[in-house]
Each structure stands twice: as C-alpha cells, then as structure tokens.
C-alpha cells in the first residue's frame, strides 16, 4: 500500500511539474515578441549561454568523433567495409550523438548556470526588486535567457558535429589509413539532407527548448535559500537528462 501511495505521489508531482512548466512556457512565448525588440539582451545571453560553452562542446565533439572513428574502423574492418567509416561517423553524429550529447553537456554547463543565476537573483531579492520597479522579471530576465538557449543549441550541435566529423577523419583517415576520397564520397552519397540533417536540427531545437525551459523554470521557482538553489540546480541536470533521452526516443520513433 505504502509503495502504491509513494508511486501515486511521484506521478502526481511529475504531472504537477509538467503542467506548471507548460504554463511557464506559455508565459515565455507571450513575452517573446516584446523581447525580440531588444535583441541586445538576447545577444548578451547567447554569449554567456552559448559562446561560453563552446570549448566544452568542441573538445567533447572531437573526442566523440575520434572514438567513433576508432570503434567504427575496428568493426568495419572485420567486414572489409572501412570505406563506409565516414558515413557511420556522420550519421551517428547527425542523427543521435550530436543533439543528445550536446544537450546533455549544455544542461550541465549552461543549464546549471542559468538555474543558479536566476535562483540567486531571487534569493538576493533582485527579482522582487525588479517587480517593485514595475518591471516584469519574466520578460526582462527569463525570456532573453530562454531565447538565447533555444538559439544557441542548434548552433552548438552544428559545431559539435563538425568537430566530431573532424575527429573521425583524424583517426580514420590519418591514423588508420582509410582512403580519404572513399571517406568523403561515401558521406556525400549516403547522407540525406532532409532525413538526416533536418531531423538532427529539429532534435536540437526541441532539446534546446526543453533543457533551457527546465533550467529557467527551476531557477525562477527555486526556494530562495542556499539549499533551495542547490536543489534546483541538481533538478535541472537530472530532469534535463531524463527529458532529453525520453524526447530523443519519441522524436526518433516519429522521424525515422
């Protein structure tokens, strides 16, 4: 009985959070046109959310690409099909690894920063101060950060993929000796723009919306204490990771 009740409350909590973040998303969308009129605020956030994540994304992309090159080469060489290495690397990155790994890294790097920043603003009464100055903090603080996250994610995924392909090339062609023309020409003929590239972009957009929404939502409604902000930051990482993986399955099932 106790276990059932526990499960009931977990489901209830989950649905409550889903509903609350859905309503919060509607509020963000409502203020988006106004926010777009002040692009400077968004650009500043694209810098701190997106550009500041670049090194992490590029280094991770390089290693993922290198691992793909190595693993792919080892497996493909058993079937004498190493010329397909480029296709394997690019498809893995475009369809799955690029959007998913970037979103997970983004949640860890930028999502936590957003949550703790907004949470601390509430804890230090900066948000209340803004309300007292008749400025809606959702419009002024949250929406530019949300839009910056949504804009940054596809760009970061693009960079992650590009560097990843480079990593695969370095290991596959330069280290393992796969034929350079086979590597590129296979990619050219086997990667479809709509099915592979566009679907990756759609995934990255959805992940960008989900991870940034979770980050700003948790920050805005964080308990205004040190413990509250730290809990909210943890929830951002955990919920973002779960949301990205669950959405990835759903999107993959629909698109491929």
């Amino acid at each position: 009985m106790g276990l059932l009740r526990e499960a009931y409350y977990i489901v209830l909590d989950f649905l409550q959070m889903l509903g609350a973040s859905g309503l919060f998303l509607l509020r963000l969308i409502k203020f988006t046109p106004q926010s777009l009129l002040r692009p400077r605020l968004i650009f500043q956030q694209v810098f701190s959310v997106g550009a500041m994540s670049l090194v992490l994304i590029m280094v991770s992309g390089l290693f993922i690409g290198m691992v793909l090159g190595l693993q792919g080469y080892n497996t493909l060489s058993k079937f004498a099909a190493t010329s397909a290495l480029g296709t394997l690397v690019v498809l893995s990155l475009l369809r799955e690894l690029g959007p998913v790994v970037t979103a997970l890294l983004f949640a860890g790097r930028a999502g936590t920063a957003l949550t703790s920043e907004i949470g601390l603003m509430r804890a230090t009464e900066q948000i209340a101060g803004m309300e007292m100055m008749a400025v809606d903090p959702v419009r002024r603080i949250v929406v530019p950060r949300f839009l910056a996250g949504v804009i940054s994610m596809p760009l970061l995924v693009g960079i992650f993929n590009a560097v990843g392909v480079l990593g695969g090339y370095l290991v596959g062609v330069l280290l393992m000796g796969v034929d350079i023309s086979a590597f590129w020409s296979q990619i050219h003929s086997n990667v479809d723009f709509h099915e592979d590239f566009v679907s990756g972009v759609i995934k990255s957009l959805v992940f960008g919306i989900a991870t940034t929404l979770i980050a700003v939502f948790e920050g805005y409604y964080a308990q205004p204490t040190a413990e509250g902000v730290s809990r909210a930051t943890t929830r951002t990482v955990v919920n973002s990771a779960l949301a990205v993986l669950a959405l990835d399955y759903l999107l993959t099932a629909f698109m491929f």
């Binding site: 230090t124 009464e125 900066q126 101060g129 309300e131 007292m132 100055m133 008749a134 809606d136 002024r140």
Partner: protein, 277 residues
C-alpha cells in the same frame, strides 16, 4: 471627472489600511490592523522582530495580498488592481530593500539607470545626467563605476536609494534601512531619508526596530505587536507613553510584558520528566 480624480489622488492620506487580517500558516500575523500614512510625512512602523513589519510593507506595495481588510493606496484598492494597473501604480513607488537588492552584474551607474531605461525613452545623454544627479543626491557620484560586490552595506543601500528615487516616486518604502550599518553610515541614511522626503516632497514609510534612529527622523510612529497597533504618535508622545509594553520596547528591556523566555513546557519536567526534546 478629471478634477475630482485628481482631488481624490491628492487626499490627505496616501495609504489607508483598515481591518487588515493576514495569516501565515497557523499564525495570525495581523488581526484587524488599522494604519494610515499621511501625505508628505515620514511614518515609522516599529515592532519586535517577527511581528510582520516587512510583510506589512509587502502588503502596502501589493507584493502580498491580505486575507481580509482594505488596503487603499493613492485612492486605489490594491485588491482590485490587475497586473498592469499594479505595475503602473508601482512606478510612483520606491522601495528600499534591506540588503539593497542591487543587480550584481551591473555597476552602480547601470543599476540606477535601470528603471529609466525600462520605463522612459530618454536619450542616453539625459539618462547620464539624471543618474549622476541621483547619485550626487546620495553622495556616491564618484562611485558610479563600482560593482555592488565591491561596496560596503551602507554604500549599497545608498545606491539602492538612488535607484529607488530614479523615477521620482511619490511614496518611498524603507525596509529596515538601519540594520547592520556602522554609526557613520547610519547617520548618513538618517539624514538622506529626511532630506529626500522634504526636498522631493515624498511620503516615506520606514519599517524598523532601531528606536533611536527612527525617533530622530520620523514624524509619527506606529508600534505593532501581536498583529495589532499597540501605540501610535509622534516620537515625543511615544516617549511619554505609560504602557509597560511600549516602555519595554523603547527602552530595550530584556524582561517585561514580552517575556525573556519563549513559551515552552515546564523547565523541570522537560529536564527530568517525560517531556522530551
């Protein structure tokens, strides 16, 4: 109509609170509280910690809605205002938070410029002038490029004060403005509250428990305890008040009507008996 509206707005009292009831959880914070804030005066609201003084300020500014009672600010019933109307009314209010609530990623200049940039279409040159004038009024023009993290508590509060008066409000609320300040900073804030009130024609509401400082600056004071107004009057009138509670509070006595000990079970029975901690 416009003339009568104007007359209504310029009534004698800026804020009228009648029959205010507010409950937080099980605890009754305010029990049929009545308070009026006269125009152009400095009104202090004093009381021991935990009596809900800050909550009262939040109710006056519409940050918190009471359970019962009427809160009329500038002739407007706070309970009937929608979000936009409340924001419109707040443009005529300044609020000094206890910790200043400055934006930590903006410097002093940008903090004071913030409300101007948000609510006016002033040119950059004019904003520059207005911000420097406000900073000059609080004596911190020279600190325009400092970051909030580099400043002492007293300086941060003065910058917050400059920001609170940036839009030339009619009413200004001070939440514990003297807490945690050294004597010089305290003297500066006391002087600023008086000077700003008189030169800008403001109405000021101070919430505090620093009796000496408040008495030196306020025109009238309310003492509240257990959700009710215990005494009101000018500082001189309060000084001659005969109530034991008022005497205990104003003179800072450890024991009196407000007991030294928080209510609890019998001491001996908790130490040795079955009452456990």
């Amino acid at each position: 109509m416009a003339a009568s509206g104007q007359q209504k707005n310029e009534s004698e009292n800026v804020i009228e609170i009648t029959g205010l009831k507010y409950r937080r959880g099980e605890k009754l914070i305010f029990d049929r509280l009545n308070i009026t804030i006269p125009r152009g005066k400095i009104t202090a609201i004093m009381g021991p910690s935990g009596t809900g003084k800050t909550t009262l300020l939040r109710i006056m500014t519409g940050q918190v809605l009471p359970d019962r009672g009427r809160v009329i600010v500038e002739g407007r019933n706070m309970a009937r205002l929608d979000g936009d109307e409340l924001y419109e009314l707040r443009k005529s209010m300044g609020f000094l938070f206890q910790n200043g609530a400055l934006f930590t990623d903006y410097n002093v200049f940008e903090n004071v410029a913030f409300p101007l940039r948000e609510h006016t279409k002033l040119q950059e040159r004019l904003i520059h002038h207005v911000v420097l004038m406000k900073l000059q009024a609080v004596g911190l023009r020279g600190a325009w490029d400092m970051m909030p993290g580099e400043m002492s508590g007293g300086m941060a509060r003065r910058v917050a004060l400059a920001r609170a008066i940036a839009l030339d409000p009619k009413i200004i609320f001070y939440d514990e403005p003297f807490t945690g300040l050294d004597p010089i900073s305290m003297g500066v804030i006391v002087r600023l509250i008086r000077v700003l009130n008189d030169t800008l024609g403001l109405t000021s509401v101070i919430v505090s428990h620093d009796v000496a400082e408040v008495s030196s600056v306020s025109d009238q004071s309310y003492l509240i305890s257990n959700g009710k107004v215990v005494a009101r009057g000018t500082p001189e009138e309060l000084e001659h008040n005969k109530s034991a509670w008022v005497r205990q509070f104003l003179q800072g006595l450890a024991d009196g009507p407000v007991p030294f000990h928080y209510p609890g079970p019998d001491y001996a029975s908790q130490l040795f008996g079955e009452e456990s901690v």
